[in-house]
Structures are given as C-alpha cells and as structure tokens.
C-alpha cells in the first residue's frame, strides 16, 4: 500500500479521472441538448408554434454557450498553470 502510494501520484491520477469524465461526458451531453434545441426549434417554427420554438432556441443557445465556455476555460487552465 505504501509502495503503491509512493509510486502512484493519487492526486494527479484523480485529477485526470474527474477532469476527463466531467469534460468528456459533460460536453457531449450538453452538446446533445444543443442539437435537440436547434432541431426542435426549427420544427416548432415550421409548425408556427413560436413560443415553443423560442424556448427550444434558448435551450440551444445556453447549451452552446456552456460548451464554448467549458472549452475556453479548459484551454486557459492548461495554458496558465
């Protein structure tokens, strides 16, 4: 146990695990929400349901903004630390 703890930097390994899981799964799921938002917004607009189209459009905008912020923040953290 002590030898393994000496060899393996548990802090760095945990950082790799949680950062990649949050970024990898998080960006994919949020982007999927953006795809749902854009697609549904276009469908609702064609059906003249402008209220639903606006709501889905807002979902897409927020999801895309989260993706962009996450990517920029990730690169900034890497470049500055």
């Amino acid at each position: 146990m002590t030898l393994a703890a000496t060899i393996i930097d548990a802090h760095a390994l945990l950082q790799l695990l949680y950062a990649s899981v949050i970024a990898g799964v998080g960006i994919c799921v949020v982007y999927a929400c953006a795809v749902v938002g854009v697609t549904r917004s276009n469908e609702r607009r064609r059906a003249h349901d402008h209220r639903a189209a606006t709501l889905y459009g807002a979902l897409a905008s927020v999801a895309l903004a989260i993706c962009v912020v996450a990517i920029v923040a990730g690169i900034t953290i890497m470049a500055t630390k």
Binding site: T6, I7, I8, D9, A12, L13, Q15, L16, L17, A19, S20, V21, A23, G24, V25, I27, C28, V29, Y31, A32, C33, A34, V35, V36, V38, T39, R40, N42, C67, I71, G74, I75, I77, M78, A79, K81
Partner: protein, 369 residues
C-alpha cells in the same frame, strides 16, 4: 561529453521522429471526422496540422516528465538519447510496415529506457516514475476513454432518440468541427512535448542546459511544433487515400463522442504531465462509442490484437534501443558510432519505404488495408 556534430545529429533524429509521429497519428485525429463526412478531407488535414502546431505551445508538463521523471537526467549521454530515438523509430517503422497498431509515445519512452539500461544499468532508470507516470496511465487511459465515450453516447442517444436522423446527424457533424479540432490540439499538446523532452535531455547531456534548472528552450518548442505539424499534413494525404475507399462505419454522434472523450482524456493527462498514447486513447474512445450503441458492433478480436501490440511496444522498443546502443558503442566511441548507425538506419528506412511503395504499386488493394 560535449560534441556539436553529435548534438546536431540527435536533434535532427528527434525532429525526424516527431515528423513520423505526426505522420502516424494523423489517422487518430482526422479519421472520425472524415468517415462521418463532417469535414472535407483536405480541410480536416489542414486544420489538424495547424492545431497540432498551436497545441504544442499550450503546456510543457509532459516535456518535464520525459526529461526529468523517467531516467536520471544527470546520467544521460548523447549516444543514449540517440540510441533511444533510433530504437523508437525502428520499432515504429517495423509496426508500420507490418500494419500493426502501436504507440509512438511508448516506443520513444521504451527506446530511451532500453538504451539507458544498456549504458548505465537499471540504477539510472527511475522505475517509480516509469510505472507511476507512464505504465499506470497507459493502462487507465484507454479504459477511461472507453467509459467516457460509452456513457456519453448512451446518454446522447437517449436525449436525441425522438429527433429525425437527418437534422440530428447534421448537428453532430457540425459538432465534429470542434471535437476534431480539440483532438488535434490535444495531440499537439501531448505528443510534441515528448520530442521536446527528449531534445531537452540531449541538451542536458551535452552541457547546454543544467539538469538542476530544467527549462525547454523556445527554439525546441517551435521546431518540435513545426515537425509534428508538417508530419500531420504529410501523413494526412495517405490517410485520405485509405479512407476514401474504406470508411469506418460510425455515425456522427459516435464520431463526436469518441473525439470529445479522446480530447478530454489527452488534455487532462497533459495538464498533470502524463505522456499518453493518442493511439491508445482514441482506440478506447472509438470502441466505447461503438459499444455504447451495441456491444456486438465492436470487433473484440481486433481489440484483443491491439492490446497485445500495446503490451509489446515498451519492452520491444527498449530491446531495440539497448541493441542500438550496444551497436553504436561497438562501432566506435564519440561521434563515429552514432553517424554510422544513422547512415545504416537511413538506408534501411529508405529501402523499407521503397519496398512498400513497390508492393502498393504492384497490388493497390493493399493500400486500403
């Protein structure tokens, strides 16, 4: 030992290795974008080359790991670095010739470790660093990319299940412009740094840099970034020819999740200083994206063969590195040995490439394999 001709030879060999690294790994970066028709092949390769160049400037933690965390920097000599690079290049070209998947990164680390053992014995290798910073992350990273891509694609399919396939697919193809770009950036960040680390080791051995005050010179960063970007651009055309006729069966959502998972793992690893293999990570991500849709969609036999090739890379490259060091010192100490070995290696590489080109001319179907 201080030798200007030898340090020039070692730096040139390292940059040549960096070029082949970009050449080799272009497939990892652009294959999914091209196969889902998210990006035109020429555009994909050009963007990948530019972002590989940019990525090399983001971080230097992996370079520090290579230069100070795996072998004793104070004990290293120029012939050791040279033999390690030749060992890695020979292993890379051999696996390329026989069509075996292998990691350029592990070949490089294995080559340097093998040459170091041959030169100074096992005492000069930091086995704790090798295990903790290379071997353990090497085992974890493909599994991590597999799990991330598998989880992400399962949730993505659930969220988009009721959408018409056309618009949804178009949305994920647009997303691949960014996920592919992030993957190219991640590749440049992690892989170019390995060459920077090896060149820095050589500069320490030659007395140009103090081992006590580690710093990667700016010209090393720029030249390594340029070499990997040029290799990516050159390698892309071969990949395009192959993918033009043999498309990997993958939808845009799978391509997006595989690339995002790969980019997330490689960028996070670069941040903590782990020199990962992009080949391993992307294979894990693509397999995960396939398994997340349907387990039987994955060719598990092929995945097993790849795992065996991965296990062999470190020890095989180490053996070639050790053999190269022994041959170098047998021919002559100083600059003679490395120059003779470099000439032999260059002749062997050219003959192998000419032979492969002739085989492909005689049987064009092989180019698609």
């Amino acid at each position: 030992m201080h030798s200007e001709p030898l340090i020039i030879l070692v730096v040139a060999t390292a940059l040549a290795f960096d070029f082949t690294n970009g050449f080799h790994d272009t497939a990892n970066v652009v294959a999914t974008s091209i196969s889902t028709r998210a990006v035109a092949p020429r555009v994909a390769v050009t963007i990948a080359a530019i972002l590989n160049f940019v990525g090399a400037f983001i971080s230097l933690k992996v370079a520090a790991t290579i230069a100070t965390g795996i072998v004793a920097a104070g004990a290293i000599t120029l012939p050791v670095v040279f033999a390690g690079l030749i060992g890695a290049s020979v292993w890379n070209l051999t696996t390329w010739y026989f069509g075996l998947p292998s990691s350029s990164s592990h070949a490089l680390i294995g080559g340097v470790v093998g040459a170091m053992i041959a030169a100074k014995g096992t005492g000069a290798v930091q086995f704790a660093g090798l295990l903790g910073k290379v071997i353990v992350p090497a085992f974890i990273s493909p599994i991590l990319a597999f799990a991330i891509a598998g989880t992400a694609i399962a949730i993505t399919y659930r969220l988009t299940a009721r959408l018409r396939p056309g618009p949804a697919g178009r949305g994920f193809r647009h997303g691949q412009l960014f996920s592919g770009g992030m993957l190219a950036l991640a590749h440049g960040t992690n892989d170019a740094q390995k060459t920077m680390g090896v060149i820095t080791l050589a500069l320490i051995a030659n007395g140009n840099i103090s081992a006590a005050h580690f710093a990667v010179p700016a010209w090393v960063v720029i030249s390594a970034a340029s070499a990997i970007a040029l290799g990516t651009y050159a390698g892309g055309w071969r990949i395009i020819r192959t993918l033009g006729t043999r498309i990997i069966k993958m939808d845009a959502a799978q391509g997006f999740t595989a690339q995002t998972a790969g980019a997330a793992v490689v960028l996070a690893a670069s941040h903590v200083g782990y020199p990962l293999s992009t080949t391993h990570v992307m294979a894990g991500g693509i397999t995960g994206a396939g398994a997340g849709k349907r387990l039987s969609a994955v060719r598990w036999g092929m995945a097993g063969n790849m795992a065996i090739a991965w296990l062999l890379t470190l020890p095989a490259a180490a053996a070639v590195g050790a053999g190269t060091y022994a041959a170098t010192t047998t021919i002559g100490n100083g600059t003679l040995g490395p120059f003779v070995i470099a000439a032999i290696a260059l002749a062997a590489i050219l003959s192998l490439m000419v032979r492969r080109a002739r085989e492909l001319t005689a049987n064009p179907a092989d180019a698609k394999q």
